[in-house]
Amino acid sequence: MTPPEASAAPSEPRVASYLGGPARTGSRFTFWLGLVTLIGLAGVAALGLLAVPADDVQGDAVRIIFVHVPAALGAYLAFGLTAVGSVMWLWRRSVWWDITAHAGAEVGVLLCGLTLVTGMLWGRPTWGTYWEWGDVRLVTTLILFLVMIGYLSVRALGGDAASVATRSAVVGLVGGINIPIVNRSVSWWANRTLHQQSSLTDGKLEDLTLFTLFLAFVVAAMAICWMMLHRFRIGWLERQLQARDLDDALAARRAEAGR
């Protein structure tokens, strides 16, 4: 019969010390952050879908703004972190920044994909088309999305961790250069886009619409923060376990050779 102390699962502090750091992807902070985000999301949905008045020109299609614009800004933010993380890896060989860059790319691809899909669903009732290949904002956003899919593909190719980090950091920098091009494309090539200029700075939004949009930004920022924290900790745990697996394999090999 197995002694009780051997069959019991190792306690969290024990696992944490085994890994040399935190052993969970969640924490009390992320629990409360998640809860506040969900409450905020319910508020944005209630205001955005029910309370905000329909637009004079676009009608109810304007309600897509509350998911489309925060997703777009969130994608810029997440890809911006990937670019910073890529620079820090190439400059300082910082594993912490490499994991941050990977987390940013994964969260950013989700948000950029949502930006494209919600943009298409907004474009159909507003412009009469889901997609326009001659539109610079649409095409540059698609290129950014594909570059960052490339980043995740390079990471998935495998190999030793340092080579993967270096190769993907180069792709991350290409994505980073793309961010200002996507953002400024509607100003630089104003005659080659159906896309409107900034909804915030042109002063055409009603007070309640503007308030709901800012609330949506805050909720999106909290959601991105939650996702980044969890994704970073997953990356960190994976690294620790890989390093432990390697140590165990080496120890087993040495023990075999010593026999």
Partner: protein, 45 residues
């Protein structure tokens, strides 16, 4: 509501994708935690 299918489609896709990704992060974290527990137990650390 005018253009209801587009509005609800955009909101639905966003909430569904964010929800699925969030759930995947939780599941991946728990799996790693179980692996770490099992290895820590096996090594007697």
């Amino acid at each position: 509501m005018s253009h209801a299918c587009y509005v609800l489609g955009a909101w639905g896709v966003t909430l569904a994708a964010a929800g699925v990704y969030t759930a995947s992060l939780i599941v991946r974290g728990r799996r790693l935690m179980r692996r770490a527990r099992a290895k820590a137990g096996a090594n007697g650390e």
